[in-house]
């Protein structure tokens, strides 16, 4: 085997090692990304437990006719109640 051949062989080997290392790094990154995604999904599954137990899809609920208006009305009532409580506290000097 000539020196040139040996050199080419070494270069190919080095390239192969470099690619393997890169692949390993990407695999590790994939595991990390998947782990993170899994934990986010699992956390949300934990949070929505009661909604799912009662088969409540809030997006579907809010798409129903009158839902947005109902929410606006609740917010309006809540604003009035808060204002009344605030006024009461002021009058009581708190």
């Amino acid at each position: 085997m000539s020196a040139a051949d040996t050199s080419t062989e070494q270069q190919l080997q080095a390239e192969l090692e470099r690619l393997r290392a890169r692949m390993q790094a990407l695999e590790l990154e994939l595991v990390e990304v998947q782990t993170h995604a899994n934990s986010v999904v699992a956390e949300w599954q934990d949070r929505v437990y009661w909604l799912e137990r009662w088969h409540l899809d809030l997006n579907a609920l809010m798409r129903r006719p009158g839902a947005a208006e109902f929410r606006t009305a609740v917010r309006a009532v809540r604003a009035v109640v808060r204002a009344a409580k605030k006024t009461k506290r002021r009058l009581q000097g708190q």
Partner: protein, 720 residues
Amino acid sequence: MITVSVVIPVKDGERYLQELLDALATEGVDETLVIDSGSRDRSLEIARAAGVELIEIAPEDFGHGRTRNLGAEHTSGDLICFLTQDATPCPGWLDAFREAFTLADHIGAAYGPHLPRADTSPMIERELTEFFAGFEADPPRPGTQAVARAAVQHSGDPHFMSNVNACYARSCWEEIRFREVAYSEDQAFGADMLAAGWSKVYHPGAAVLHAHDYGAVEFMRRYFDEYRGLRVSSGHVEPFAPISASREVAAAVAADRRWLAQRDIGGAELAQWTARSAVHHGGRRVFSALGSRSERLPAPLRRRISLEGRDGVEATVISTPTDPAQAVPALPAGKHIAKMLPHDDYEPITRIWREGSAPLLDPVPGMSEREHLRLALVIPPFSRGSGGHNTLFQIFSRLERRGHACSVWLADYHNQMRELWPGVIYHDINEFFAPIKAPVYKGFDEWQGADVAIATGWQTVHPTLALNDCRARAYLVNDHEPEFFSTSTERVIARDTYSHDLHCIAASPWLRDLLIERYGASADAFQLGVDQAVYQPLPVERRTDTVVYYARHTTTRRAVPIGLMALTELHRRMPEVRIVLFGAENPLHAAFPYEHLGVLSPAQLPALYAQATVGLCLSLTNFSLMPKEMLACGLPCVELAGVSAESIFGEHGPLELAPLDPVRIADALERLLTDRVLWEHRSREGVEFVASHTWEHATDEVEAGLRHALREREVTAGVR
């Protein structure tokens, strides 16, 4: 150009015949044939004057199917339209039918709506309109308004056809032909053609003006005849159900009233139509039910009720062989059953048998040694107390804690858990089995790929084999599941699961050896762990007279009848011994007195084991966790010899083994109850033996098995 022939059976049809023939001339059909069966009005004269072809037959030769077949034979068009003598085509009728046959491949027939004439009663008008609207395409197809609503119907769709206004491809008619039934030959044709693989089209543009606006009595007699025919053509029997029929009639009358109100009809006219409507719908229900059962009525009564004066009882096929020696028993008309399921119950299995497993990703050198893997656990449906799932999640939760990226996938193709959403399943796994942080998915729509996809039961193997983007597949085998079933489909499928290219990780050396020897599988083994923090000797005074028996009779591999026989024998010998049964909701019938504890929680079991003298737990297949848990609590236990226990404990291990024989099992129980030295020895040995059987150790073994699955792929691909 596709040619069109029109066939019109006629008898005393002068009222609309001229109008009909004029409309056909306007539409430009290629050929019109009138078949007259004994008209005594001007029908023949009108037909001759119009210059159409005319065939005259004797009235007794008329048959709805037979006469139409005759008409088809005497015409030559590529399409054959059938109209009744009172159905007048509307403008665009012929173009619509021609268009219908271009909407899909293999269209055999088409039909169009019947529009009400001006003098039609509101009941008929509403029903006709709503009835035909029900056939329209949903969602609409692209195109003009009529095409948009045209619907192509295939096998499994309604087989409705109506020869009041229908068009057939000659090739389809030649293959199917009308049955020679007295009535409803069109419905029979519809069923036959769909069953033969043809499709049909409902085209709203192919409309005719038509209404059978009979008087109330005539209308009922007409329905009597209709349902006699329907019984013959499709086997349909209209139910006699007074309460539900009353409800349906009331609903129909209310619908008629709404229809009338929309047309600004009120006051006395509305009241009058309401009464007519009640008679109309009520009478129809009664007479259609009677027509379905006409064979039970006396012939003279049948003739009186029939609008056509028929008193015979029709068989499905009127023509009979002339040679009695060749007589073949008439078959009943097959009842068409529409598609009921979105897919077959075993669809994932069929898919694997048809297409094979999904290809695996190319192996990557060193993947089996990587510290953290992406693991996907495919599980079958479960309920609280499932031992197999407990094993899975005890191990899986520990794999997760070791840093592997884990996810859980529920394969539930029998929809046993359809009511539960993923968040609930996630919660239940945490509550019933072990704490996990892995997300839970129902089905595989969100499949993301994995280093190892892990099947965990016979129901999960085929769905796992169908998963793409995996580097390897493994099979956590808790038991030899074909033995759970008698000769059955389940048994065949369970056996099949071991014949695929999955690396098995079996829950005992016995099971591993069985998989290798019987199925040639590649397999490792792991030992079931015991939760040492829960199952341990407790500071409770132990009784010297108590046998506790895990009598879960719903699990047949537990051999409960044999256990009960053994306890009956023991009771005969030692009536003073206290017997306690647990593991089943309801008390069993036994030939000895006992205490029934029902199903106990994992927290209660150690307390029971701590106070008992001897435990009895039988398994006809793989060894289960329960005897290990008894031993961990210092409770000697009797198990079956010659199955799987020796592979774990050895022949002289801490268990008292007995063959599958009630007398020998009773002997073993008696030995432990009476020989204090033996009891002490077994109790001490059991605790010592099980001490090393932890879930951490089981997890080590399973993890090694998963890495083995990856390593096998590396070796096979030559990258190792």
